[in-house]
């Protein structure tokens, strides 16, 4: 086995090791962050929810129809 391939194998060990280490760490940190955020969020969430639903249904229907029409006829935009 020549020198270059030995280097390649080292690189593989190192590379896959780092990828797994880094992404495992990410798993830990994301899970932790999510748990912290979920705790602090109950009230904020509710306030936000009510704010975003001020559109009425008719508008949604018309808009979706127009959207669909556009998707079918992209060049006229």
């Amino acid at each position: 086995m020549d020198e270059l391939i030995r280097q390649g194998l080292q690189l593989m060990a190192l590379g896959m090791g780092t990828v797994f280490l880094f992404l495992s760490l990410l798993i830990a940190v994301i899970s932790l962050t999510s748990r912290i955020i979920q705790k602090f969020e109950l009230k904020t969430e509710q306030a936000a929810e009510t704010m975003t639903s001020k559109h009425d249904d008719l508008v949604e229907v018309i808009s979706a129809a127009v959207q669909q029409y556009r998707l079918d006829h992209p060049r006229r935009k």
Partner: protein
């Protein structure tokens, strides 16, 4: 210019037929083939239409469109040599990607990690090819070829333009072609490595992710990258920047710009620029054939290791994880996730895996950006 004869000769000498080399003619045919695949077969058309057209333009004799003063040459220098284009595309990818599925199931990052084996085994494969006469891949070349296994176009271009600019054309063609071929490459491997029972496993519905969690995600990823792997910071940085624009909710103008006009413009420029590296003298050689072969191996191994890791996680979780979603870990967003969904539906007509496959799918993007950072740190140093 004196007599009419001389004038006619001048003009004749500026025709294409008087100046074509066989290589150029062949490369123009390859450019047309790429256009055919992109248009008729819908092979990643957003990239392959500009790239195929660029291949035609850059092999026109005399016109020197890929030369230092030609349009494609100027674009290449301005955007690829400086690495600006792939970084801006990464910003756009970040702005277009919803990481919700990944945040809901962070474990799937392991699938995205496992699929990176494709990168490193291919790297060794490239070095082993040196035993075959006619191949002279350096470690840097091998790293650039391996990154094809990341199944992520801008990452491959980012790495190859830094480590092996001469191979960039072949690497980009391989990366985008195999991304388009994912629906053909992956399913046999997925079926071979899983039992019908495993493929039928249904997964729990993902929980709802709040806006705050989505905002925290890009910042978390960036900070970890800053602390542990700064060499991956340009790619991860732009990816998370785009994603923060998307999720923060206060800069929708900028988010829309990143998702639309900016990424569209840069996609055209990137495709044409990469096409400029498909010149006959850089592309028509043994090494290109080797790269195409190795790229296919890279995708296959990445798929296999992703699925195998899925099987391990399934055991450890007590049968809650369908190992198919491991195949999405190669990235090739969103094609690989759709393939997972399709293979899952084949086994059980009510088993929708699309959302669950999106987690490993976007994890694969982060995984190969991390791998790219390591390669640049060790090999590019």
């Amino acid at each position: 210019m004196n007599t009419m004869n001389e004038l006619l000769e001048t003009l004749w000498l500026t025709t294409g037929i008087a100046n074509f080399t066989w290589g150029q003619a062949l490369m123009i045919c390859i450019g047309l083939l790429l256009l055919y695949l992109a248009i008729a077969k819908k092979f990643e058309p957003l990239l392959l239409v500009p790239m195929g057209f660029g291949a035609v333009l850059s092999n026109i004799p005399i016109a020197e469109i890929s030369g230092p003063d030609g349009l494609l040459g100027i674009l290449y220098q301005a955007g690829i040599e400086t690495q600006i284009f792939p970084l801006i595309i990464f910003m756009g990818v970040g702005a277009l990607t919803d990481f919700g599925a990944l945040i809901a199931m962070p474990r799937t990052l392991l699938l995205g990690a496992a699929a990176q084996f494709g990168i490193f085994t291919t790297l060794i494969g490239a070095l082993a090819l040196n035993w075959v006469p006619g191949f002279h891949f350096t470690l840097a070349d091998a790293a650039s070829i391996g990154i094809i296994g990341g199944a992520d176009g801008p990452t491959a271009i980012f790495v190859a333009s830094k480590l092996s600019p001469d191979l960039l054309g072949a690497i980009a063609v391989a990366a985008y072609s195999y991304m388009a071929l994912v629906p053909l490459i992956q399913p046999p491997i997925m079926r071979l490595l899983t039992t019908k029972k495993e493929r039928c496993i249904r997964m729990e519905q993902l929980r709802h992710i709040s806006r705050t969690e989505k905002i925290a995600f890009p910042i978390t990823v960036l900070l970890l990258c800053v602390i542990f792997l700064p060499t991956a910071a340009p790619l991860i940085g732009m990816l998370t920047f785009g994603n923060l624009l998307r999720e923060c909710g206060v800069v929708d103008r900028l988010s829309n710009a990143a998702q639309n006009e900016i990424i569209n413009m840069v996609t055209i420029a990137l495709g044409l620029s990469v096409g400029s590296k498909l010149q006959a003298d850089h592309f028509l050689n043994m090494e290109t054939l080797g790269i195409l072969l190795l790229g296919l191996i890279a995708f296959s191994i990445g798929t296999a290791t992703g699925v195998l890791m899925g099987k391990i996680m399934n055991r450890l979780s007590g049968g809650k994880i369908n190992p198919l979603i491991g195949a999405a870990g190669v990235s090739a967003v969103p094609m690989a996730a759709r393939v997972v969904n399709k293979v899952g539906l084949e086994a059980d007509h009510h088993n929708f895996l699309l959302m669950h496959a999106m987690g490993p799918n976007v994890a694969g993007v982060i995984g190969s950006a991390v791998a790219a950072g390591i390669l640049l740190a060790v090999v590019g140093g």
